[in-house]
Amino acid sequence: MGELALVQSPGVPDSPVVTVAPGWALGAVAILGALVLVAGMLDGALSARSGGGPGVGASGAARPFGEAARLMRQRRRTTVQADTLLWRVGGAGLVVTAALMVAVIPLGRWTIFDLGVGVMWFNAMDVLVWALVWLTGWGANSVHSLVGGYRFLAHGLGYELPLMFALVAPAIAAESLNVGTVAAVQDGLWFAVWMPVAFLVYLLGVAAFSVWGPFAPALGSDIAGGVRAELSGVDGLVFETGRYALLAAGAAFSVPMFLGGGAGPLLPDWAWVVVKMLAVLSLLVWLRRRLPAFRPDTFMEVGWMVLLPAVLVQDLLVAVIAVWRA
C-alpha cells in the first residue's frame, strides 16, 4: 500500500475511506470501461436469445465488438447547418459525465476524490445529462433527433425530482453527504432493505438518465433513432458508450448508497463492491427488453403523482427514524 501515496482527505475529518493518488483515476476509468463491455455483451446475448430486432445472426455476446468495428469504419456524416460544436459536446459529454460520477464512488476503502458533498456531486452530474442529451438532439438540425430531445426532456421532468429525493434518503440516515460515510454507516443493515422505495426510485432514475429501457423513447426506432438519428461513425460509438457508461456508473453508485459498500463475508471489500456493481448492472440490462416504454407525454403523471409522493414519504420516515435513533 505504501506506493499508493495515501493522503488523508483534508475536507472530510475521520473519513472512512482513503484518497489514492490521482493517477489511479485511469484505473477507475478502466473499471468503468470493463463494466461497459460486460453490459454490452450481456445485452447482446439477451437480444440474440430473444431472437429479434436488428442485427439478428450476430452471435450474441460478440455483438458490441462487431458494432464498434462497424461504427469505426463508418464514414462520418453531417447535416446541413448543424450546430457542430454543441452537437459534439452533447455526444461526447455522456462518457465524460460517467467518468466524473465514478470519481466519487469508493472501491472498498479507496477513493479518487473524497468529496464532502459527493452525493450532491453525483446528482449534479446526472442533471448535466439533461443538457447533453438535449444538445445532441438539437445540434443535428434534424426533425427526428429534435423530437428525440423533446422526449428526453419530457421524461426528465418526470424522473429528476424523484431521483433527487431518492438520493436524499441515504444522506439523511447517514447524516452526511460524503459517499464513503454513507457506505460506512450501513453497518449490518443495508439502506436498500429499510428504504426500498428510495432504492427502486433510484434505479428507475439510473435507467432514465441512461436513456435506457422504459425511458428509451428518446432513441425510438419510430423516429429513426431519435437523438442519435444523425450520429454516425465514431460519434455514434461515443454516444452509445456514454449511455452504457452512465448505466454502469449509476449501478456502481448504488453500491455505497444502498448496498452497504464493500461490506460482505470472505471476500475483500473491493471485490464485494465489484460483485454488487455487476449484479445491479445485470439487473438493469436484463430489464431493458422486458418492459414496455413509459410514454413521454404521460410519464410526468407517474413521476409527480406516484413516485414523488412515495419517495417523500420515504424521506419523512427515514428522517423520523434518524431523529429517534439520535
Binding site: 429479434g52 423516429i223 413509459f294
Partner: protein, 220 residues
C-alpha cells in the same frame, strides 16, 4: 437576416396550443417507415413533437389478394408494430418469430400455442395497459364515418387486445376490409408523434384505399 440558411427555409412561427408562439415544422411521414402502414403518406405540421395538422394520402393503393398465411402474417406484422412502438422489445420479438412461422406454414396448421402465449403475455402487462389506455379513443359512429374497419372502436389498448385475440384464433382470419385513408390525418391531430404512431398502428390496417366512394359502394 438570411431566411434560408444552407438552402433550408427557417421554420415559421405559429400559435401553440398553450397560446405561446412556437416554430412550425413541415414534415412528411411515409410512404415507407418502420412500423408504418405501407403506402400511407402523412403531410404533417409539427410544433415540437405535437402534430398540429395532418393530411393523409395513399401511394400505390391496389387490391392485393393474398392467401390465409399472408393475412395472418400481416396481422402479426401489425402486432409487431404496436408492440415495438410501445417500446416492448421482447414481446415484439416474440410476435416477429410467430410471424415467420405463420408465413412458413402456408395453409398448414398455425402455431396456436405460441400465439396463445403471446396473447396471455400482452393481456397480463399492466404497464402496457396503463400506457395505451385512453389513447386515441374512437366511437362506433366515428369508425363508421371515417371508413375504418368496424372493430376499431375503443381506445388503443382495446384495439391491441382485439388484434392479439384475432391473431390467436384458430379459425381463418381472411383479409380485413380495406380502410379509407382520407380521414387518418384527423385521428392524429393534437397527439405527439409517438402517440400518433401508436394510434395508427393499432388500427391494424391491411389495405388502404384512396377514395371513400368505393367504401360506400361496397357497404351499400
Amino acid at each position: 437576416m438570411d431566411m434560408s440558411p444552407g438552402g433550408i427555409p427557417l421554420a415559421g412561427g405559429g400559435e401553440d396550443r398553450d397560446g405561446l408562439e412556437m416554430d412550425v415544422l413541415k414534415v412528411r411521414l411515409g410512404p415507407v417507415l418502420p412500423y408504418w402502414p405501407a403506402g400511407l403518406v402523412l403531410h404533417c405540421s409539427l410544433q415540437g413533437d405535437v402534430v398540429t395538422e395532418a393530411r393523409a394520402e395513399v401511394l400505390g393503393a391496389e387490391e392485393e389478394a393474398g392467401d390465409e398465411a399472408d393475412a395472418r402474417a400481416r396481422s402479426l406484422d401489425n402486432l409487431v408494430s404496436v408492440l415495438a412502438l410501445a417500446g416492448w422489445e421482447d414481446a415484439a420479438a416474440q410476435a416477429r418469430r410467430l410471424r415467420e412461422v405463420a408465413l412458413g406454414a402456408g395453409d398448414g396448421p398455425v402455431d396456436l400455442r405460441g400465439l396463445e402465449r403471446l396473447q396471455r403475455r400482452v393481456r397480463r402487462s399492466r404497464l402496457l395497459r396503463w400506457s395505451l389506455r385512453g389513447l386515441g379513443p374512437l366511437t362506433e359512429e366515428e369508425v363508421r364515418h371515417q371508413g375504418l374497419p368496424a372493430d376499431s372502436a375503443g381506445d388503443t389498448y382495446d384495439r391491441l387486445v382485439r388484434m392479439v385475440d384475432r391473431a390467436a384464433t384458430a379459425s381463418r382470419l381472411g383479409d380485413r376490409p380495406a380502410a379509407f385513408a382520407g380521414h387518418l390525418g384527423t385521428l392524429v391531430v393534437g397527439l405527439d408523434l409517438a402517440a400518433a404512431r401508436l394510434v395508427l398502428a393499432s388500427l391494424d390496417l391491411h389495405e388502404l384505399r384512396a377514395h371513400h366512394a368505393q367504401h360506400e359502394a361496397a357497404h351499400g
